[in-house]
Symmetry: C2
Subunit: 480 residues, 2 copies
């Protein structure tokens, strides 16, 4: 066994560190330029654009940025980087919130955004094959005429490759599942340039180790996704949306819990606290809402089914003290509502000048949601920081966007301290530090707390098996 | 790197082989007897009971059978076997159809059927924590009073640990997913005795590598599952069932395809060909059915929703040429129907004297179902063998039970030849060799065809990382 894989105690394999010398880097750049030409660049402005995502980490400049346009190019680049020990950090739309795309050990930022072709749509099997740089907006625009949609919808204009990397979800996950349930198969380039296909076109299979799910959520540390086969869904016959405001956050949360426990198949059930509602009213010009805790609902199904679901939820909401149940049946009103919801992060950021956001992403069992969410609210109030709350509460998942002045390092420290308290409360009730944003740099300290040293050692041994030189997104997920 | 992990060409890690000497085996047995006492046995009758599952492989006697009653016992046993290089093959209810429980390299058969406690049921979060020896019948009997059920239902009285190992599904998968979608987390004992917890109680998480899904479907080759946290579902408000018979197999298959493509959320849609129907009529005393291709349906939802779904499917079936749509609204008729469906395998076996079954398990994209299924039927007819067909056709999955006289080795060869033809047709249309039964011994030759050498090499490297001595169910999944 290679002893560089052992920790100081000599007992557990650790993810190795890539260590590129200037000579190795130069060799990779020279060889890569031969097939990428000007799509390999050391231009400083481009490198700065690839220094971090939408997060609060300190940007790192990659040594170069490579814009790949095919699986073959990704494979050749990785084989070179593997041979020379040069780090490779994949980059899609740069919307990560946990530092995933920050190339902390330099090397190549591998930009996949130009691999954005929709290769197949199979209407009769409701699946499609796409390249990783396709965004969810691009895909849904393409699908609309065929009566199909792809339901996984993080708030950002992210790429689907990035969504696979972070095991993303969004507002529809309560009904349609996350990206984990909506990927049928992947094409992945391994660290050494080999190309594998995982999964397939079938809806279920008992045919060997589940490499698809091993790759989903591995944050670019085990391989680079170069094609994605997605499961699609039929646009429902009927859709309706509703908004209900509540006198207290507790009343809103109790409505969520009762709705979920009643087994009503809501398509979306989203919570905004009064701070977030105020930010959305200003940012998205939402009319007719008071600055109160609010739930947004959406129902999918047949005309009768939608009406039946909505009436059941209305009764629960009113029983919990909701201030009426405002219907949004026309598509325009619905779209304005959900666009406002998707822009909640930007509304939060805009609500305080010169801000960036430290985002918490706790997810808990639904029975513990009130405790976790109201506990988080109490921690925010005690901290004196501004932190709007918003959540995919049907899944037990909620976010706080802790606003920090970009020029105040103390504010960032205080934000991280608050983040730790909120996460600790989530973990204490059987939750996770990340429902959908991933680990990256920002949540590494929680990973071992959550899984324990033995499971973490298994993750490290998988990393060592698939990326023995540690070139893929080094420094992420694991602290050392 | 340990060179025993390299293949002859020296390029790919291969799953190593356990090689227990008599002295090592004796050492393990002596040390295990200290904590298992009489629950470790070398009794020949018990060993014979653990020689194979419900398959056609040649039984192998394990050197001993260990009946574990706790995670601690499994951990101590595996640590010993790891230290001494003694193979361990897990055994649940012995219902595997692909030779998974056949201890082909001897060693210990680890019987987990006594670890059958239901440890927690959380009604409000709709989850439970169980030991691996709990059967699905036992769990559903326990849950019924709480308004909950566990939907994954292979035909056999299998254990849930075994279902995790083989990535099982069943008749409800078309609506509720397979075991893959219904496990929230696992406790797993690794090859060297370390115990890990994967997943958790939350419905979604982006918190590191997905070890839960790596273990599900790994067939006891990566670890031994000692606890399972399952997702449960509310018993639907209304349920109704129906039966429709068709003049041709094609008409039945076309009804399935149109139903699925219409997005109707059927809970179950099962096909039996005329040979299987005849077998079920005799075995389960089903009345009122002709010996014709038949679909069984079940609908779950609200009273209105169920009626709406059923009417939509009825129209599709009649349009395709179905001979009427017989309703089974009372629970007793429904239960008789589904019990007959679950006993289809036994009905097939009973339809020919002195038989065992070689079972195919092809699963294809729904658009290719007619081609794959009718092609399989043509192969059966050309072979002259008897092979009733039955299928979870909503998922594109169907089985043929190729009947072989137990005392006729030539019949077994002919059955395997037919199996290969049916699988080849499935693979040719983008399908898999196994929708739900797993690879075991019986489908190993197809694994590389299906995934290609690179993906198979990745699977092998994961095996080598987690079970470096190759003690866990050696000889399964991989051919060498």
């Amino acid at each position: 066994m290679d002893h560089t894989l052992l920790d100081p105690a000599g007992t557990e394999p650790r993810p190795p560190r890539a260590a590129a010398t200037p000579a190795h880097l130069a060799a990779v750049l020279a060889a890569t330029r031969e097939f990428l030409g000007e799509r390999l660049t050391e231009n400083r402005a481009v490198r700065e654009q690839h220094g971090r995502g939408e997060d609060t980490t300190t940007p790192t400049l990659p040594d170069a940025v490579a814009f790949a346009e095919s699986t073959g190019e990704v494979s050749r680049l990785l084989a070179l980087c593997h041979a020379h020990g040069v780090p490779v950090t994949a980059f899609g739309a740069g919307t990560s919130l946990e530092g995933h795309v920050n190339p902390v050990r330099g090397g190549i930022s591998l930009d996949l955004s130009r691999m954005n072709r929709i290769l197949e749509v199979n209407q009769e099997d409701m699946d499609c094959l796409i390249e990783p740089g396709v965004t969810r907006h691009q895909l849904n625009d393409h699908l609309r005429d065929q009566g199909l949609f792809f339901p996984v919808d993080p708030g950002s204009h992210c790429t689907i490759g990035g969504m696979c990397a972070t095991r993303a979800s969004g507002t529809n996950a309560v009904r349609y599942g996350t990206i984990r349930e909506n990927v049928l198969g992947l094409e992945v380039v391994l660290a050494d340039g080999r190309v594998i296909n995982t999964g397939g076109r079938v809806r279920k299979a008992a045919n060997g180790y589940d490499l698809t799910h091993l790759m989903i959520g591995s944050e670019g540390t085990l391989g680079i996704v170069t094609k994605v086969r997605l499961r699609l869904h039929g646009i429902p016959e009927a859709t309706s949306a509703a908004v209900c405001q509540f006198p207290t956050l507790r009343a809103a949360v109790e409505t969520v819990i009762t709705t979920m426990q009643s087994g009503i198949p809501v398509a979306r059930i989203e919570l905004l606290d009064e701070v977030q509602v105020a930010a959305c009213i200003r940012y998205s010009k939402l009319e007719g809402l008071a600055e109160l805790p609010t739930l947004f609902f959406e129902f999918h199904g047949s005309e009768n089914g939608v009406a039946e679901q909505a009436r059941a939820v209305e009764a629960i909401a009113l029983e919990a003290g909701g201030n009426g149940f405002a219907w949004a049946t026309d598509a325009e009103t619905r779209n304005r509502l959900w666009t406002a919801r998707h822009n909640a992060y930007w509304a939060a950021i805009a609500s305080q000048p010169n801000s960036r956001g430290v985002t918490t992403d706790v997810c808990v069992p639904i029975s513990r949601l009130a405790e976790a969410l109201l506990g988080a609210k109490a921690e925010i109030e005690a901290s004196g920081l501004s932190a709007p709350m918003v959540g995919h509460v049907g899944d037990g998942n909620f976010h706080t966007v802790i606003l920090v002045d970009q020029d105040d390092p103390d504010a960032l420290e205080r934000a991280w301290a608050l983040d730790r308290k909120i996460v600790a409360r989530g973990l204490a009730v059987g939750g996770t530090c990340s429902g959908e944003h991933g680990i990256g740099l920002g949540k590494r300290e929680f990973l071992e707390q959550e899984h324990g040293p033995e499971a973490l050692a298994v993750m490290r041994s998988l990393k060592a098996a698939l990326d023995p030189k540690g070139i893929l997104n080094p420094g992420k997920m694991f602290r050392n």
